[in-house]
């Protein structure tokens, strides 16, 4: 019989294959958002662009997701040190902050609607909904990963020897954090 191969061990480069898959996936997500934001710039340059103030809630979201990135990293470090108690606390806190971020985004959309900025209307508003909405969609993927990782952390399945799962979850989570900061700074200041 042919040998069974673990695609994460003994790879040609030494990098686990799942890690490489995640990074290539991240590159493709970056390209999608690069597409959207360059479309934003091109469209804005043509004029007929309604200006409006961003809801304060987006700033709060930014602070929340920054904190969640910090707790995520702390959970990963705790696992590396076999400190299971801290790992559980930080993983659950990250999950809570992630949900709080989604809630805060929904609140921000409500404020926008109250201010008369709708999804259907001038592209300046539509673009904002598309950018923040797609980010939340990607974040929902991150939250699902985080739930799985949290359960496994509670079951103490990760330790200093076996931490690839939580490491990849942390990588994706940090990416979502940076992506939101980019989108926020882009809409608020750059564009």
């Amino acid at each position: 019989m042919a040998t069974v191969i673990d695609n994460d061990k003994n790879t040609y480069t030494g990098i686990p294959t799942s890690k490489m898959l995640l990074w290539i996936g991240i590159v493709s997500i970056i390209m999608a958002f690069a597409g959207f934001t360059s479309g934003y710039i091109v469209r804005k340059a043509e004029g007929n662009w309604v200006e409006f103030n961003l809801p304060r809630a987006f700033t709060i979201s930014t602070i929340i997701i920054l904190m969640s990135s910090f707790t995520m990293q702390m959970a990963y470090i705790a696992v590396r040190k076999n400190n299971f108690k801290n790992a559980k606390t930080f993983a659950i806190t990250t999950l809570g902050l992630g949900l709080a971020f989604v809630f805060s985004q929904f609140y921000a959309w409500n404020v926008l609607v109250d201010n008369g900025i709708f999804f259907v209307g001038n592209p300046s508003g539509s673009f904002l909904y598309v950018l923040s909405g797609l980010h939340v969609l990607h974040l929902v993927g991150g939250i699902i990963a985080l739930i799985i990782v949290s359960v496994k952390t509670i079951q103490e399945k990760y330790n200093s020897e076996n931490s690839l799962g939580i490491e990849l979850c942390a990588t994706y989570w940090h990416f979502l954090d940076l992506l939101w900061i980019y989108l926020f700074v882009f809409v608020a200041y750059l564009a």
């Binding site: 019989m1 042919a2 040998t3 191969i5 695609n7 790879t11 040609y12 480069t13 990098i15 294959t17 490489m20 898959l21 290539i24 996936g25 590159v27 493709s28 997500i29 390209m31 999608a32 690069a34 597409g35 959207f36 360059s38 479309g39 091109v42 469209r43 043509e46 007929n48 662009w49 309604v50 999804f119 259907v120 209307g121 001038n122 592209p123 300046s124 539509s126 673009f127 598309v130």
Partner: protein, 454 residues
């Protein structure tokens, strides 16, 4: 997408470029109703699968090579697949962005691409959109896409040409570098599809420059193919015929690309049959010939049987004559100003002179279509009744030919073979046979080793 052929309003009919507002408004034509929705849904599924497949290919080629298979020992086919996958991962997300905004415009009433539209004297509510935005996003994918179609075929042809010439591929490194350069340039040339959109002439000149640069790596590849064939012990198998056919189309279709890539010349022949002729030869026929070469070459590997050679030759000669018969005259139609995408050219007095050329094109296309039935028959017949193949019928170096003819789970019994050399040691001076498989260590080929190989 196939389903949309059977619905009442018919399939999407805005052409493959689905430009809004034509594609965005169901009032524009019946095809922009349900048919367009089904098209967009299938595009989303296609983009997702292309992305997942591309990510898988990249990680597999980089991370899961067998022992000894360094990047510079990869067969050119695998290099081509890798670069294709990279192009896909970078460009399909942008198509996704374009398509998603179109979905929003169509189904939710947003105005990303729509503005100031009157239908039957009534103004639509949409305001502030830009149809040019769609073209930018679409062609940012659209140009890399032609290399996504073509590069795998070029990779297959590299392998077939080297094997059936019984010679090392000429300029292996140049082949790899030129594919990488083509891939890079393909991302900065999309404007050559938009010279007629009111683009700033200076910007047009920039896109002309980047576009014409692609001629350099393309020419490198062509010369390398020809140099590989030069004075070679050519085995004219059906696969080799199709691979040489690809080189022929790549040249004749590439030359007209130089004309179309120039913003000043393009203005005269924009949206005419000249464009149709150009890209059907260079990325249509080329890519299909590369794939035919691949099928004839790897058929014994896939099914353990050989395809019928005579039928292969008949298929090749009829197809190559039909392809040139269809697309060569089209250049003249285009130069005479006959536009593409018209339902009936005979409705216009000025195009009546061209009737006989159109008739020739139609007859040729029918002959070409019928010839494909020969291929289909050969394919399925040989699958069950073809001559049984030996393990390595073409005397090939690459490792897939070292796996047993019977299909095993994991391809090889026991360990996966280790690679000791590149894939192109054909007719090496001093060697016992005219090929040395990649799995043969240098220690077993003392007589033919070059300095530095031990």
């Amino acid at each position: 997408m196939m389903w949309s052929v059977f619905i009442e309003t018919g399939p999407a009919s805005g052409g493959w470029t689905i430009y809004p507002p034509l594609s965005a408004l169901p009032q524009a034509m019946p095809g922009s109703g349900m048919g367009m929705t089904l098209w967009l849904v299938s595009m989303v599924l296609f983009i997702v699968s292309a992305l997942l497949g591309g990510i898988n290919y990249i990680a597999t080629v980089i991370n899961l090579r067998t022992k000894g298979m360094s990047m510079m020992r990869l067969p050119l086919t695998i290099w081509a697949f890798l670069i294709t996958a990279i192009l896909g991962v970078l460009s399909f997300p942008v198509l996704f962005a374009a398509a998603l905004l179109l979905v929003f415009d169509r189904s939710f009433g947003t105005s990303f691409y729509l503005s100031d539209i009157f239908i039957g004297g009534e103004a639509l509510h949409n305001s502030g959109g830009s149809p040019i935005l769609f073209q930018h996003l679409f062609w940012f994918l659209g140009h890399p896409e032609v290399y996504i179609v073509l590069l795998p075929a070029l990779g297959l042809a590299s392998e077939v040409i080297a094997t059936q010439s019984r010679k090392p591929i000429f300029g292996y490194k140049a082949m790899v570098v030129s594919m990488l350069v083509i891939a890079f340039l393909s991302f900065i040339v999309w404007g050559h599809h938009m010279f007629m959109t009111g683009m700033n002439p200076f910007l047009g000149a920039v896109f002309t420059f980047t576009t014409l640069l692609i001629a350099i790596p393309s020419a490198v590849k062509v010369f390398n193919y020809i140099a590989t064939l030069w004075k070679a012990n050519i085995q004219l198998t059906p696969a080799m015929c199709f691979a040489i056919g690809l080189v022929s189309f790549f040249i004749s279709g590439g030359l007209t690309g130089i004309i179309l890539g120039d913003s000043a010349l393009d203005i005269n022949i924009h949206d005419t049959y000249f464009v149709v002729a150009h890209f059907h030869i260079v990325m249509g026929a080329s890519a299909i010939f590369g794939m035919f070469a691949g099928v004839y070459h790897w058929f014994p590997r896939m099914f353990g049987r050989m395809m019928n050679k005579t039928l292969g030759y008949i298929h090749f000669w009829i197809t190559v004559i039909a392809v040139y018969g269809v697309f060569f005259p089209m250049h003249f139609l285009g130069l005479a100003g006959v536009p593409r995408r018209y339902y009936s050219n005979s409705a216009y007095e000025s195009f009546m002179d061209m009737q006989n050329i159109n008739e020739l094109v139609t007859v040729m296309s029918m002959i070409g279509g019928v010839a494909q039935l020969i291929f289909a028959f050969n394919f399925f017949y040989s699958m069950f009744y073809g001559k049984k193949s030996e393990q390595n019928p073409w005397g090939s170096n690459t490792i897939e030919w070292t796996a047993p003819v019977e299909h095993l789970h994991g391809n090889w019994p026991g360990e996966i073979p280790t690679v000791h050399r590149w894939a192109y040691d054909y007719s090496k001076p001093g060697a016992e046979h005219d090929f040395i498989p990649q799995t043969t260590p240098y220690s077993q080929t003392k007589g033919s080793n070059l300095p530095g190989e031990e």
